[in-house]
C-alpha cells in the first residue's frame, strides 16, 4: 500500500521537478519565462500526437522535448531579440500554447493513449522496498534525477555554468567581459522549453496516458513557484517537487476514501499549498534578495 502511494507520488512529482529544473536554468541566466504552462502543454500534445502516429512513446518523448523547445524559441525571439516585456511575453506564450494545443489535440480527445513503460533495472530493482520504488520506473523519472545531478554540476562546477550564473547576476558586466549574453540566454531559454516539453510529455504518456485539453492544469505555474521555493538550487527543487507530489496524491487518496471533505476542497490543496509555500519563502526578504538572480527579468540591449 505505502509502496503504491510512493510510486504515485513519484509520478506526480516528476513533471514538476523536470519543468522547474528547466525554468531554474532559464532564471539563473536572468530570464523570467512565465510561459512554462504553455510550453508544457505543447510538449504534452506533441508527445501524444507523435506517439499515436508512430506507436512509440519514446519518439513521443523526443517530440515533446522538441515541441517545448521550439515553442520556447518564440519567447526567446521576442524577449531577447526584440526585448519585449518578459512578463507579458510569458503570459502570451501560455495563452498561445493552450490555444494551439487545444487545436492540435482536438482529434485526439478520447483516444486511448500508449503508456511509457517502466524500465526495470536488473539486480538493483530486487533490493527490498527501495528497489521497486527507485529502479523500476519509466525513463522520465531517471531523467529527472539525472537532470538534478547534471544541472547541479553544470551550474556550480563547470566554467560554462559559472558564465551562465554571471550573466544572471549582472548582464552588463558579463557583456563587458566578452561573454555572449544573448546567445547564452537563448540556450537557457531553449533548455527551459525542452524541459517543460519533457514534463508535458510525461503528463500525456505516463501520468494520464491520454490527451485532455488543458491537462497541465496549472502545473507549469506550480513549477514556477517551485523555483522560488527552491531559491534557485537544483536539489531543493527535487525536495519541493516531491512535497507537492505528496500533497497532490494525498488529496487524491483522501477523495477515494471519501473522508467527508468535499472533493473540490481537496483538489484545491495543491494550489493552496503553493500559496502557503510562497508566503513562507518570500517572507524573509533577506534570503530572497540574496538568492534571486540580480538581473532576472531585465531586458538587455548591448550597445554596439
Amino acid at each position: 500500500m505505502f509502496e503504491a502511494i510512493l510510486l504515485t507520488v513519484i509520478t506526480a512529482a516528476t513533471p514538476l521537478v523536470i519543468a522547474a529544473l528547466g525554468e531554474l536554468v532559464t532564471e539563473r541566466a536572468g530570464v523570467l519565462n512565465l510561459g512554462v504552462e504553455g510550453m508544457m502543454i505543447m510538449g504534452a500534445v506533441c508527445a501524444f500526437a507523435a506517439t499515436q502516429m508512430t506507436g512509440s512513446p519514446y519518439i513521443g518523448i523526443v517530440a515533446g522535448i522538441v515541441g517545448g523547445g521550439l515553442f520556447s524559441l518564440l519567447f526567446g525571439f521576442l524577449t531577447l531579440t526584440l526585448v519585449a516585456n518578459q512578463v507579458a511575453t510569458g503570459l502570451a506564450l501560455t495563452i498561445l500554447g493552450l490555444g494551439i494545443s487545444g487545436q492540435l489535440g482536438e482529434s485526439f480527445v478520447g483516444q486511448p493513449g500508449i503508456k511509457l513503460q517502466p524500465i526495470v533495472i536488473p539486480l538493483l530493482s530486487d533490493i527490498p522496498f527501495f528497489g521497486r520504488v527507485l529502479f523500476a520506473q519509466d525513463l522520465t523519472f531517471y531523467l529527472s534525477i539525472a537532470l538534478v545531478i547534471g544541472i547541479n554540476w553544470f551550474l556550480f562546477k563547470s566554467r560554462r555554468g559559472l558564465k551562465l550564473r554571471a550573466i544572471g547576476d549582472n548582464h552588463g558586466s558579463a557583456h563587458a567581459l566578452g561573454i555572449n549574453v544573448i546567445r547564452t540566454r537563448y540556450l537557457a531559454v531553449l533548455f527551459g522549453g525542452a524541459c517543460a516539453g519533457l514534463a508535458g510529455a510525461q503528463l500525456s504518456l505516463v501520468y494520464t496516458p491520454q490527451w485532455v485539453e488543458n491537462m497541465s492544469a496549472g502545473r507549469g505555474w506550480i513549477a514556477l513557484a517551485l523555483v522560488v521555493f527552491a531559491s534557485w538550487r537544483p536539489w531543493r527543487v527535487l525536495a519541493g517537487g516531491y512535497l507537492f507530489g505528496a500533497v497532490t496524491i494525498g488529496q487524491l487518496h483522501a477523495q477515494a476514501f471519501g473522508i467527508g471533505i468535499p472533493s473540490q476542497v481537496l483538489s484545491a490543496l495543491p494550489y493552496v499549498a503553493t500559496i502557503v509555500v510562497l508566503i513562507i519563502i518570500s517572507h524573509n526578504r533577506r534570503t530572497t534578495l540574496i538568492n534571486t538572480p540580480a538581473s532576472l527579468g531585465k531586458a538587455f540591449v548591448p550597445d554596439r
Partner: protein, 361 residues
Amino acid sequence: MRIELQKRARVSTLFSVLSPLLALVLTLIGGAILFWALGKNPGSALYSFFIEPLLEVWSLHELAVKAAPLILIAVGLSICYRSNNWNIGAEGQFTIGAITGSILPVLYPEWHSPMILPLMLLMGIAGGALYAGIPALLKTRFNTNEILTSLMLVYIAQLFLDWLVRGPWRDPQGYNFPQTKSFQIEAVLPEMLASGRAHWGFAFAIIAAVALWFMMRFMLKGFEVQVLGQSERAGRFAGFSARRMVWFSMLVSGGLAGLAGISEVSGSIGHVQPSISPGYGFTAIIVAFLGRLNPLGIIASGLVLALTYLGGEAAQLSIGISDKVSRVFQGLLLFFVLSCDTLIHYRIRLIFAGSQAEAKG
C-alpha cells in the same frame, strides 16, 4: 543576417498608433495561413470569422455582450500593469464577483425589490475587490509574488464555484443539473435596447473606461500610477507609496472584474453554473496590451477580441472549424502586439553579413 536594435531618441508617436494595427494585420495574415493549413479557403474563412458577425443586428448585440466583461476587466488590469503590479488572476476575481453578487437572488429568490440589483452589483464589486485583496495583502505583507498567487487563486475560485453549484446552491428542482435556480426578474440586469440581448454591462464598461481614462490623463492619481510603475524609488521621492498603490490597483481591477462577473451572470446567463466564463479574465490580458494599456484603446481592442469569440462560434457553424481557433488567434494577436511594440522604442535594422564586412573595412 541578424537583427539590431537602436534606441530611438524619443518615443515614436507614429508607431504608438501604428503598432496595434500592424499587429492586427499580421494576425490576419497568420490566420489566413492557419486556415489554409487546415484545408479551408482563407478568404471565405476570414470573412465568416471577422466580417459576418458584424452584419446582423443580433450579432452586434452579441458583440457588446462579449466585449463588456473584456473591457471592464482590461481597464482595471491596465491600471495594475501601468503601476507594475502583475495581477493575472482576473478570471478568479470575475468568478468570485459572480458568486458574491449572486448571494441575494440565490438565497432570497422571493425578494422582489428594485433594491436587489444595485445591491447585487455592489456585492459583486466588493467580492472581486476582496479576492484581489488577497494577493495584494500577501505582496505588501510577505513580499509574495502576485503573479503566482493571483493565478493560484483562479483555480481555487473555480473549484469553490464548482462546489457551490453542485452542493449548497444547487436548485433542488433542477433535475440534478449543477446550477442554481434562475434569478427572479428584479435580479436580472436589463437589456439596454429593445433590439437585442446587449445588457447594461456594456454601459458599465464604457463608463469605467472613460472614468479611468480621465484619471490617468488628468488626475494626480493617474500620474502616481505611472510614476510608481516606472520607478518605485522616484515614486517614493515624490511621496507616493508603492504599498498603497499595490492595494489601489489590485482593488480597482478586482472590483471591476467582480462587476464584470456579476453583470455576466445576471445579465446574460440568469443563474449560476459551473462554467460562467470562456476565459474572459485571461483574454482581458490580451485586450489590455492590444489597447496599449490606454483605457480608450481598450474599448477598441475589447471589441476586436470579442469579435474573435463570435467569429469562432460563427466559423464553427458555417465552415466547420473548431472554435479553439479563436484561442489561437488571441494568442497570435498578443504575440504580434508585443513584437510590434518594440518599434515604438527602437529602430530595427537588419544587418546582412556582407554589409557588415563593408562597415568594418
